[in-house]
Amino acid sequence: QVNLNPSGTNTPLDYANPKRYQIGGITVSGAKYLDPNTLISITGLKIGDPITVPGEDLGKALNRLWDQGIIGDVEVYVTKIEGEKIYLDFFLTERPRLSRFVFNGVKKGQEDELTKKIDLIRGRVVTDALMNTTKNAVQKYYLEKGFMNAKVNIIPRPDSVLANSVVLNINVDRGDKVKIDDITFIGNEAIPDKKLRSKMKNTKEKKFYKVLTASKFQPSKFEDDKKAVIDYYNSQGYRDAEIISDSVYNTSEDRLGVQLRINEGQKYYFRNITWRGNYVYDGKQLASVLGIERGDAYSKERLEKRLQYDPAGGVDISSLYMDDGYLFFRVDPVEVAVEGDSIDIEMRIYEGAQARIKDVTISGNSKTSDHVVLRELYTVPGQKFSRTNLINSQREIAGLGYFDPEQIGMNPIPNEAEGTVDIKYSVVEKPNDQITLSGGWGGPYGLVGTVGLVLNNFSARKATDFRNWRPIPSGDGQRLALNIQANGLRYQSYSLSFTEPWLGGRRRNSFSVGVNKTISRSITGDNREQGAIVINGASISLGRRLRKPDNNFSLSHSLSYNQYITSGDFINYYQFGSSDPNATQASANSISFINTLSRSSLDQLTFPRRGSSLSLSLNVTPPYSRLSENFDKNKWIEFHKWMFDASWFTPLSAGGKFVLNTRAHFGFLNTFSDKRDVGPFERFKLGGSGMGVGNFIVGTEFVGLRGYEDQSVSPVDPKTGQNTGGIAFTKYVAEARFLVSPNPAATVFVLGFAEAGNNFASYRNYNPFKLYRSAGVGARIFMSAFGLLGFDYGIPFDTYPGSEKKGQFHFMIGQQIR
């Protein structure tokens, strides 16, 4: 406010007639600690400036001072007016400033959280209002956590170090956590208490068996829950249902009772539904899409869903229009008559013109390049707007795994005059690189350590320029995986692979190259090397999604080469590479061409509820035995191997928490000639968790069979007595899964299974119905950083020759295919 110093001048300020002056002088009074010159500079006023008094210049100057937050109060006075010159004085009251604040009675971990909530800024003046808001914020914080009796006391104490400053001591006595003893309803006749209680998601009774359910009382959540109760009534036709009163009372020191008094009102039904303003579709078509019959219980919620957006999927009225470009479509249901318990509805429709997409843009991609996202989208410029395409595009973006799936935004910005729409997607990047460090028991090798690094959003293009490394070159959607496994000298394995998901940038043709090297040595107690095998390999593969017979099919080809070099004892042990018993080193080559045709229609990967996945793969080497006699069978490995895997998911409960998974797996291995025996490569071993270590040497396929020891269901070569593995296997599984926690950070499910399988050494003995059976239970947890972990306990029903019949525990890491 502008005050006139009474002794200054005798020309009073006329508020109706602002006058222009020139500033003749500015003074600051009342400041003990603050510097007057600084304050004057903060006001933004300068001697000699023109100024209108009264006017907004002075108001702005006061605001600037206020904004600093360092003064208690400020007023401006006109000390004198000499002709055109005006002299101003800013009179201020200083208040102590906050130098720091201290919590007492607050858990260390909660201090940071609280500090964020209370918004205290050091250096600002401390006012009563500030202390009050702080106190309220702290109290509210504890209230939300269920401490209804928390006491907060803020005591300012002068800071001995800094003049005119105070330290705020925020003392908190949390008291006991208050839990809900009892939730009661009065006046509900149509719907039982139990049903209503279940609708209150965050207000729950404390019961000894509800270990996982929090039963604290949170006022804001309580309001939501009351609304949920009414929403439920509305959805059942009780359009007028209301909560007349609610009371929350103490039943004891730390227990609450909650009582809701409900007026249910009458139950209503739909009667006639009529359509107006529709030209594209007739009333009959619209009625059949709407799917609400005369006589159905009246539910505004259901009506809205069927009109606007039905998350259950399928076609709703809006999608009918909005998938065909009618972006400006609106529908307004109006209750035209309410007679007795019947309601007539008139749907007033505005169809508008069809809109075409003009611009498609992405924002928020601070790491991932535009094209990586754009190429996944179904919404492209020039196309008619389609809401389904928009939603599918969102799903594709989420599927990339580079962005927070909860924060993918889609914003169509229509331009009705032009008949176009711009689509803006917004994303938030999330970290998606994985580092694995693990140690595991590796059968004959003892402890094997693994270091793995997977970069899921790598950019080879940017890798050439160090300026783009922050901290690694990323953003082009490529995958780089590096894996090192070692156990000292005895076993080392290195692999590196690179994948480009869109080779050539035209289509989703994934291309990958990989190299690997493995060394395995047999070392005696006195550190002497008895034998070794070295495998050098490289592979190249190309995979693509097919459009026929449908979009779920994909085909992949991969060509790989492996060279095996054995020395010492290992020449005899592996029996390949050389037929000369006196050789000190031998080598063998394997060139194989793997072709896989697969189809997957799973609804998601971590906990599939419906859909199936089928895969047929053929792994074949050149048919040396048919080509020429000159190929040494020890040097050129020959086989053809067929694998078939099928897996179906069927939901057993409506919510999709209970799911049945049935699977069938087959594998066959053979050579191209009757004269050539099937070698030690690529054979099958069944039993246990199916996690084998050591499969790298001869490419043994480990298949789980729970209830039996690892690799135990495998025929023994009668000549050598070695467990070399079979050449044909079958396996059938039925698994019932129950989802315990759908939390994407840690998805947990438990399962019960029954399975059966067998493994044969020759085709003469092959019998797909002679099986070793088992059953058991288990649990899995999926964590985004680690992948899938789990354990099973299985009980065998049969005895495999050479092994004991007893229950087995199995641990597993990673998703098992078979």
Binding site: L39, Q68, S99, G123, V161, N365, H371, P381, G382, G505
Partner: protein, 258 residues
């Protein structure tokens, strides 16, 4: 200037401030920044506050924390609009935003903010000694936005979404009429339109070849010496032949002109 940790732990504001100035002079921007951040709230209302705010912004700038420094420079300008450093502050605000702007194929929100900031600076200080540098930054940022729009349109061509490519190139031409990419965009638009016509159903082919011819005519008028002229002409020839084959009963005047 003594032990850094000791100063950091002390409660003496003046000593901390002095030490911060010394660290700043020695180009130890990290330590200067930490100390200035500590003392800044306690200096509010004192003479030193202005300098502290300005130098603190610079420490963040030199530490390459451009998002933070841009905000600090802006706050400095808003608070101390009368300061002799106000102009430099506003310029540094824009320059921080300029450095904060990422590659063209990433989110360009900060590029747009930077462009607005530079415009604002040039409007306020048209005679500034930073005028030349500011203009250069402006041009560079504007070119980045052009490149983004152009490359994204090109992506549709590459993926053989021809209709999308034609739409995107047309939008590009309208939004960036003076861009250096315009010649290539005009050419690629002809290519996309021609390919679209080629793979269209017979009913739509005629109209689409006509459009190809129209795009070609606009192209030769605007870029008579273009390096793409030969291949564009080839598409024009093919289109006219197709049109002849499709033989419309009426209105072929458009084609015969050439």
């Amino acid at each position: 200037c003594g032990d850094y940790n000791k100063i950091l732990k002390s409660n003496n504001v003046d000593q901390k401030y002095e030490a911060a100035l010394k660290y700043f002079e020695k180009k130890d921007y990290y330590r200067a920044g930490v100390l200035l951040e500590e003392v800044r709230p306690l200096l509010a209302g004192r003479v030193e506050a202005e300098k502290a705010a300005f130098l603190y912004a610079y420490t963040q700038y030199y530490e390459r924390l451009y998002a933070t420094s841009s905000e600090l420079f802006r706050n400095f300008f808003d608070t101390y609009g009368r300061s002799p450093f106000a102009e430099e502050g506003l310029f540094m605000h824009a320059k921080s935003l300029y450095y904060d702007s990422p590659d063209f194929n990433l989110d360009q929100t900060s590029t747009q903010t930077a462009i607005v900031a530079i415009q604002d600076f040039l409007n306020r200080y048209p005679e500034s000694k930073y005028e030349e540098e500011a203009t250069k930054m402006y041009d560079e940022l504007a070119a980045k936005l052009e490149r983004k729009a152009f490359e994204n349109a090109k992506l549709y061509s590459q993926m053989r979404y021809y209709q999308a490519a034609v739409t995107a190139f047309s939008t590009f031409q309208r939004e960036y009429p003076s861009s250096t990419f315009n010649e290539e965009a005009a050419y690629l638009k002809i290519v996309a339109q021609f390919n679209l016509a080629e793979e269209s159903v017979p009913e739509k082919q005629r109209e689409r070849y006509f459009d190809t011819v129209g795009f070609y005519q606009a192209f030769v008028d605007k870029y008579p010496n273009s390096k793409y002229l030969r291949s564009a002409e080839g598409l024009f020839d093919k289109s006219t032949k197709q049109l002849e084959r499709l033989k419309a009963p009426t209105n072929t005047a458009n084609v015969e002109q050439k």
